[in-house]
Symmetry: C2
Subunit: 334 residues, 2 copies
């Protein structure tokens, strides 16, 4: 059996509660007593039982992170950073993959997963604000990403629209006029896809370039679908001189498809993405993209969530945080 607080108390010749007090930095303890307890702890190799502590205190020191798929590079990098930011503050992150399915998202919101965590970082992809609101319960919840832009919720996000406009403007600036968009999500307007598409349109407008719906290719956000979308455009006979992948893996999939068809990047078609995953720098040609300030997103979303948990930041309206971004110009669209 593991050594408990009781064992420590006995060894130190104090009461169980005094041991607890030492561990919780209770103010009024004689230094000598404190020392004796700490010696006993060291000698017995005592470790607090987190489960018992959780039961009693109602806190788990774990944060939940709900995302569609951890194997997507953007989410993998984000998760890694979130875990590090949380660890620095004494929290652990429990990840749940939703596969972008509504049922999984709802489960994460209500089920045992929620119970295990003190607060949630949530990237809803399938369900809407009302669904979230009606089942969110009262533990703190911070939205990550953009599918839900709602005053009821805290949200940490990036400047999707502005950044997408900046990439588009860059492509236009290098003389491209027919810029295909890969990764649109028909019918959706508030999500990342919608916002980035808005940015694209805004940049076109500002440059006085007409918008052509034929250039917009829907696709899930993966490499293979990005490749397939470009293939589809080509086969339909749509002509374009640039591709804007709404995220990097789409852009990379698209670029791959162009290259195997003998289309030169960037000479024939320029390619740009969004996310600046590590892979973008090392692709051939390297990928022009938007660096969305992921460090800032990770830091600030953890900070905000912990503020909510501790009650430092008291509710009322949802807080909206937007991280800055940088355009990274590389070979695929100089």
């Amino acid at each position: 059996m593991a050594v408990t607080m009781n064992d420590v108390a006995r060894a130190a010749g104090v009461s169980l509660k005094t041991v607890s007090n030492v561990l919780n930095d209770y103010e009024f303890i004689r230094p000598a007593t404190k020392q004796r307890v700490q010696d006993a702890i060291a000698e017995l190799g005592y470790e607090a039982n987190l489960t018992a502590r959780s039961l009693r205190s109602g806190k788990t020191s774990m944060l939940g992170l709900v995302l569609s798929d951890l194997s997507a590079p953007y989410y993998a990098e984000l998760a890694s950073k979130l875990m590090k930011a949380a660890a620095q503050r004494g929290y652990r992150v429990l990840v749940e993959q939703s596969d972008a399915e509504g049922s999984a998202e709802l489960n994460a919101l209500q089920g045992p997963f929620r119970q295990l965590t003190d607060g949630l970082l949530f990237t809803p992809l399938a369900i809407d604000a009302d669904a979230v609101a009606s089942r969110a319960g009262k533990k703190p919840l911070v939205m990550l990403g953009e599918h839900i832009l709602d005053p009821r919720f805290d949200l940490v996000t990036m400047k999707n629209e502005e950044a997408a406009a900046a990439v588009t403007a860059h492509l236009l600036g290098s003389g491209r006029r027919r810029i295909a968009v890969v990764g649109a999500s028909p019918g959706e307007s508030a999500g990342s896809a919608g916002l980035r598409l808005n940015g694209y349109r805004r940049a076109l407008e500002e440059a006085g370039v007409p918008f052509d719906p034929a250039l917009i290719a829907p696709a899930e956000w993966r490499r293979d679908t990005g490749a397939a979308a470009v293939a589809g455009l080509i086969e339909k006979g749509v002509r374009f001189d640039a591709v804007f992948g709404l995220n990097d893996v789409l852009a990379l999939g698209a670029m791959h498809q162009l290259l195997i068809r003998g289309i030169k990047v960037p000479q024939d078609v320029a390619v740009a993405g969004f996310d600046d995953i590590d892979e973008a720098r090392f692709a051939s040609p390297s990928l022009t993209t938007i660096s969305p300030g992921m460090d800032e997103i990770a830091e600030r979303s953890i900070a905000l969530l912990l503020d909510r948990i501790s009650g430092r930041e008291s509710a009322g309206q949802g807080l909206h945080v937007e991280a800055g971004f940088k355009l990274k110009v590389r070979e695929s669209a100089p």
Copy 2:
């Protein structure tokens, strides 16, 4: 306050323990009683308190996964699959990043992290078998990867040596004679790097091609280091007609470096990797690599760990599982 078993008991007109029995599928309960309890549960929206259950039962239904860095594509994909495999069996996975640092690995082995989990999937990179053995405690532990090949531990791994020999043989078969190896880890012999290097040497021997230590470039397993290692070789004036990256990101970093220097892949230098991450298929040129049967690794390591936890597989010797592999021939080394 959340609804507890006691509330359910009262609502159903039975004792608290009967509710517990219903939840735990106790055999001897009258169907009518069971129904009443289940109705009460549904009506009140009762959810079992996992923390309390853990405290009482000593099980957490969580598995620990220790790896160096979740943002590395291989680990991200593996973690994703492990989580899915675990979820199917009613377990959750808690991930801990070690950054390949010994202190972090030791903490994961003993500290609170261990307490929170019923068993551990462990990829030790910095510490050795004895260090693990002396602090492993008695909860089940399954090694993942190869740094520790020790009869005391269970191990799920891939055929590193054989597979590396197969890639090397493939490169030799296409006429390459000076195959640089990127990602070696000097002094280490039992780890993945060492085993893969062994495979490389074995294939050379079998083909009667002399081994040239100048071709072996040490590097950490990242894209940037892979690129730097190739740059180093070139600058030292080492000549080579192929590069074997000990994993895919190394190979991709290396390939990037070659291409920006105007060296044609595969015409001038062929490139091959190891892991078959999704990115390999979509690189330009696409990357020849080893598919290590990650699905099998994920499935079998979860299965083995759960067998150990349940006691179905009783200890004694460590079990060693080797997943199969496939050579994926693509453009970078046809």
